[in-house]
C-alpha cells in the first residue's frame, strides 16, 4: 500500500466521516434532482449548485490532511512531505470532474460547446474547492469557512449568482478554464512547498469534529484569548472589581459550606463574561441586532431559533461536577453548587430571551415591510410565549451533558435531537392540521416543567453522589 493510499483510507476509517458521507450523499442526490428539473424546466441556475456542495465537502476533506500535518509525529514520517497535496488533488479533482459531467445535459449546446462547458465547469468547481481548502489551512478553526455560505446564498437570492455562474461557465468557457488552470497551478505549488510540514507541525488546529470536543474548544479559546491579549493587554482577563466581588462573597460565607461553593461556581462561570469590556458588549449588540431583524423578516417560524439557541449552547457550560481542581468541594457541595448554577443560568437565559422578544415586539411597530425581487417581507415579532422554552430546554440539555460528559459527539447528537423537538414544536404549535389548531397550553407547560427539572435533578444527584468524578 502506498502512503497516499494509507491517507485516503482516512476517508472511510473515521466513523464520523460515514455520517458526513451519508449527509452529503443526500444533498448530492437533491442537487442532482434539481439539475434534472432544471434541464426540463429551463432554469439553468441549478447547474451551478454543486459549487456549494463542493465547497462544504472540501472543508471536511481538507481537515483530514491538516489533522495529520499538525501532529508532530508526521513531520518525521518518511515520504510524507508531498502527501497533503497529493491527497487534496486525488479527492478534489475527481469530485469536480464528476459534477462537471452534469453539463452534458445542459440544453441547447452542440458537442464542442458541451465539451467546453464541462471543462469550464470542472475548472470553476476546482476554484471553489481550492478556496475551501485554503480556508481550512488558513484559519485555525475551519468553521470560519462556512461563514461564506450565507454570503453565497444571499448573493444567489439578490443577484442570481447561480445563473450568473452558469452563464459564465457556458458563455465564457475559455476564461473560466484559464482561471481554473491558474488556481490549480498555484494550489499545486502552494501545497507542495517544502516548508509546509514545518509550518504546521505541532500547531494547534481544529480537526473535522473538534468543534464538539469541549477540551479542544476550550484550548482553542485560550489560544484566541492569548492572541487578543497580545494585541490588547488585559482585554480577556477577569476584571479586578469582579474578582474582588466574588472572592469577598466566598470569604464571607462559612468555610466549607455549600454557599461558598455556590459562589465559587458563579465566579468560575460568570466571572469572565461579566468582566467583558464595554466594547465587547457593544460588538455583541451590533452583531445580534441585525441577526434578530433578519430572522424576524423571515417568513414562518424560523425566527424562533433565536429563543432556543442559548438553550443549546449551555451544553458547553460546565456545572463543575467533574472538576478535579484542588478545592474542598465534597460530593454534596458539588451537587448544590451545580443545581444553583443550572437554575441561575436558566433564569438569566430566560430573562435574556424574554427581553429579546419584547425588543422585537417594540420593533414591530416601527419596522417597515421590505420588498425584495417582488416578494414582500414583513417584520414579525418573536412570540413572547415561547420565552418559556429555555426553562424547559436547559435542564434537558444539562442532563444530556452530564450523562455523556466524556462523549462530546453523543452529547451534541442528543442535544440536537432535543433542540429539533423544541424547534419543530414551536413551529407546529402555530399550525392547523386537519382543522385542528395545535396549541401548547399553559397546562402542558406546567406538567412538563416539574418533569424536566425532576429528570435533571435526579441525574445530577445520581452523578454527584454515585459516579466517578474526573474529567
Amino acid at each position: 500500500m502506498t502512503i497516499l493510499q494509507a491517507n485516503l483510507k482516512h476517508l472511510y476509517q473515521r466513523k464520523s466521516f460515514w455520517f458526513i458521507g451519508l449527509f452529503f450523499g443526500f444533498i448530492a442526490f437533491a442537487i442532482a434532482n434539481a439539475i434534472f428539473l432544471a434541464i426540463t424546466g429551463n432554469s439553468t441556475g441549478a447547474f451551478a449548485s454543486p459549487i456549494i456542495w463542493i465547497f462544504c465537502v472540501s472543508v471536511f476533506i481538507a481537515s483530514l490532511p491538516i489533522d495529520v500535518l499538525t501532529k508532530p509525529f508526521s513531520y518525521c514520517l518518511p515520504g510524507h512531505r508531498k502527501i497533503p497535496r497529493n491527497f487534496l488533488f486525488s479527492v478534489g479533482l475527481p469530485l469536480s470532474f464528476l459534477w462537471s459531467l452534469s453539463f452534458i445535459f445542459y440544453p441547447g449546446l452542440n458537442i464542442i460547446e458541451t465539451s467546453l462547458a464541462c471543462l469550464s465547469a470542472f475548472s470553476t468547481f476546482t476554484i471553489f474547492y481550492w478556496f475551501a481548502v485554503w480556508c481550512v489551512f488558513k484559519f485555525k478553526n475551519w468553521i470560519i469557512a462556512f461563514a461564506f455560505i450565507p454570503l453565497i446564498m444571499l448573493g444567489n437570492q439578490l443577484i442570481n449568482l447561480g445563473t450568473i455562474t452558469t452563464f459564465a461557465i457556458v458563455e465564457i468557457p475559455l476564461l473560466m478554464i484559464l482561471s481554473g488552470t491558474a488556481v490549480n497551478f498555484i494550489a499545486w505549488n502552494h501545497w507542495g512547498k517544502t516548508d509546509l510540514a514545518r509550518r504546521y507541525s505541532g500547531q494547534f488546529w481544529m480537526a473535522a469534529f473538534d468543534a464538539w470536543n469541549m477540551k479542544k474548544m476550550s484550548k482553542y479559546k485560550q489560544i484566541k484569548s492569548a492572541e487578543r491579549d497580545k494585541k490588547k493587554p488585559n482585554s480577556t482577563k477577569i476584571n479586578s472589581s469582579v474578582e474582588n466581588f466574588f472572592i469577598s462573597r466566598i470569604n464571607r460565607t462559612e468555610i466549607g459550606s455549600s454557599g461558598q461553593h455556590i459562589w465559587g461556581g458563579f465566579y468560575k462561570t460568570f466571572g469572565l463574561t461579566i468582566s467583558q469590556q464595554r466594547y465587547d458588549w457593544m460588538r455583541f449588540l451590533i452583531l445580534i441586532l441585525p441577526i434578530l431583524c433578519f430572522l424576524c423578516y423571515m417568513p414562518a417560524g424560523g425566527k424562533n431559533i433565536i429563543l432556543m439557541m442559548p438553550g443549546l449552547m449551555v451544553i458547553y457550560m460546565s456545572l463543575w461536577v467533574h472538576s478535579s481542581l484542588s478545592i474542598t468541594a465534597g460530593r454534596r457541595q458539588r451537587f448544590w453548587s451545580a443545581l444553583a448554577l443550572a437554575a441561575t443560568v436558566t433564569i438569566l437565559i430566560t430573562l435574556a430571551v424574554t427581553l429579546l422578544a419584547i425588543i422585537t415586539q417594540l420593533l414591530e411597530m416601527v419596522m417597515p415591510p421590505l420588498t425584495v425581487k417582488g416578494h414582500e417581507f414583513t417584520f414579525s415579532a418573536l412570540n413572547i410565549n415561547y420565552s418559556v422554552m429555555p426553562i424547559l430546554m436547559i435542564p434537558l440539555m444539562y442532563t444530556i451533558a452530564l450523562i455523556f460528559h466524556k462523549k462530546p459527539i453523543l452529547t451534541m447528537f442528543f442535544a440536537m435531537i432535543v433542540f429539533q423537538v423544541f424547534f419543530i414544536t414551536s413551529i407546529v404549535s402555530n399550525l392547523k392540521i386537519m382543522n385542528h389548531k395545535i396549541l401548547i397550553t399553559p397546562l402542558q407547560i406546567a406538567i412538563m416543567l416539574p418533569l424536566v427539572w425532576a429528570i435533571f435533578i435526579t441525574t445530577l444527584r445520581r452523578i454527584s453522589m454515585k459516579a466517578c468524578l474526573t474529567n
Partner: protein, 295 residues
C-alpha cells in the same frame, strides 16, 4: 501495613472500568506521618487508587475510608486537610496565576501566605501570566503550590514532577524534604522518576495490574534484595554458585555479579569465605529494585 491510627484505610477495594480491572481486591492502611512511594507501570492502577482515597472514584466492591470517614462522604472539613496534585493538571485557564491563587486560597483557613510567597520566589512563578498560556512545567508548579500552601495533613502527589525541568525538580525535592519534617504529615507520591522518589520516601507500594505486589518499608525492601560482586582469590569461579534465592547471576572468569533476595549480609559473607572469595556488597537503587520486583 497494620497500624493503630491509619489516615486512610482501603479494605478489599475493587474497581473495574468496562473490561479493565483497575483495582483488584486492594487492602491497605496508610499511617499518619508516612511518606509513601507508589510505584508501578502505566495502567497499574496508581491514579485510580489515589482517586479512591480522596473520594473522586467510588469502589465497585469494598470500602475506602479517609480520616475515619467513608471516602464517598468526605466533606469540605476533611477535604481541606488533603492536598492533591493531579495528572490532568486541571486549572482555571482564563484566570491569571494570582487570581487562581486568590480563588483557591479563599477555601482554606490554614492557607500559609509566607509559604506561598516563598514557593513563588523559589519556583520563579509569574503571577501575572494567564494560566492557559503556561507551559506544562509552569502549570505543574502552580498545581503543586495550590496543593501545599495550606499545609495539608495528607498530600497526594500524582506524577508531580513529570513536566518539571531538572532545576525545578531539584527545588521540588528540597521543598518535599522540608515538608516531610512535619511528622504529622502523610505524603503519597506516585512517580516514574524513581531516583527522586527514593530520596524522600520511607515506605513503598508497588502495584501491577490493579494489585499490590509489595507493601513494605523502603528499608526492608532494600534489605530484601542484595547485589554483590564476588571475586575469586584462586582462579575462575565455578559455573554453579551456592547462593540461595539467586535472581540474576553474571559470571565472568574469576568475577561474578549476583543479585539475591532474602539473604542476610552475614550469610553471604560466610558463603564467600567458604568459596575463598572476596565479597563487595552494594545497596540497590529503588529503580533496580523496582525492575527486579516487576520482572
Amino acid at each position: 501495613m497494620i497500624n493503630e491510627n491509619p489516615i486512610a484505610q482501603i479494605h478489599n477495594v475493587s474497581k473495574k472500568f468496562r473490561k479493565i480491572q483497575a483495582l483488584d481486591s486492594i487492602n491497605l492502611d496508610i499511617s499518619r506521618g508516612q511518606i509513601i512511594g507508589l510505584l508501578g507501570a502505566n495502567g497499574a492502577g496508581k491514579s485510580t487508587l489515589l482517586r479512591h482515597i480522596i473520594g473522586l472514584y467510588l469502589p465497585d466492591k469494598g470500602q475506602c475510608t479517609t480520616f475515619q470517614t467513608d471516602a464517598a462522604k468526605l466533606s469540605p472539613k476533611e477535604l481541606s486537610r488533603i492536598g492533591y496534585v493531579h495528572q490532568e493538571g486541571e486549572l482555571l485557564d482564563w484566570m491569571t496565576v494570582k487570581q487562581l491563587i486568590n480563588y483557591v486560597s479563599a477555601y482554606y483557613k490554614t492557607w500559609n501566605k509566607d509559604l506561598q510567597d516563598r514557593y513563588i520566589k523559589d519556583f520563579d512563578i509569574s503571577l501575572t501570566d494567564r494560566v492557559g498560556s503556561l507551559s506544562p512545567g509552569q502549570r505543574q508548579k502552580v498545581s503543586i503550590l495550590l496543593a501545599i500552601a495550606f499545609e495539608p495533613e495528607l498530600l497526594i502527589l500524582d506524577e508531580p514532577a513529570s513536566a518539571l525541568d531538572p532545576i525545578a525538580r531539584s527545588c521540588f525535592l528540597d521543598l518535599l524534604l522540608q515538608i516531610i519534617q512535619d511528622e504529622n504529615r502523610t505524603i503519597i507520591i506516585s512517580s516514574h522518576i524513581l531516583s527522586d522518589v527514593e530520596k524522600v520516601i520511607d515506605h513503598t507500594l508497588i502495584m501491577r495490574k490493579g494489585q499490590i505486589l509489595h507493601d513494605c518499608s523502603f528499608d526492608s525492601l532494600r534489605e530484601k534484595y542484595t547485589r554483590f560482586t564476588l571475586t575469586s582469590l584462586n582462579g575462575p569461579l565455578p559455573a554453579e554458585l551456592p547462593f540461595e534465592n539467586t535472581i540474576t547471576s553474571q559470571i565472568n572468569g574469576s568475577k561474578a555479579v549476583i543479585t539475591v533476595q532474602d539473604s542476610s549480609k552475614e550469610q553471604l559473607q560466610a558463603k564467600a569465605k567458604n568459596l575463598n572469595c572476596e565479597i563487595e556488597i552494594k545497596p540497590l537503587s529503588l529503580e533496580e529494585i523496582y525492575k527486579i520486583v516487576v520482572s
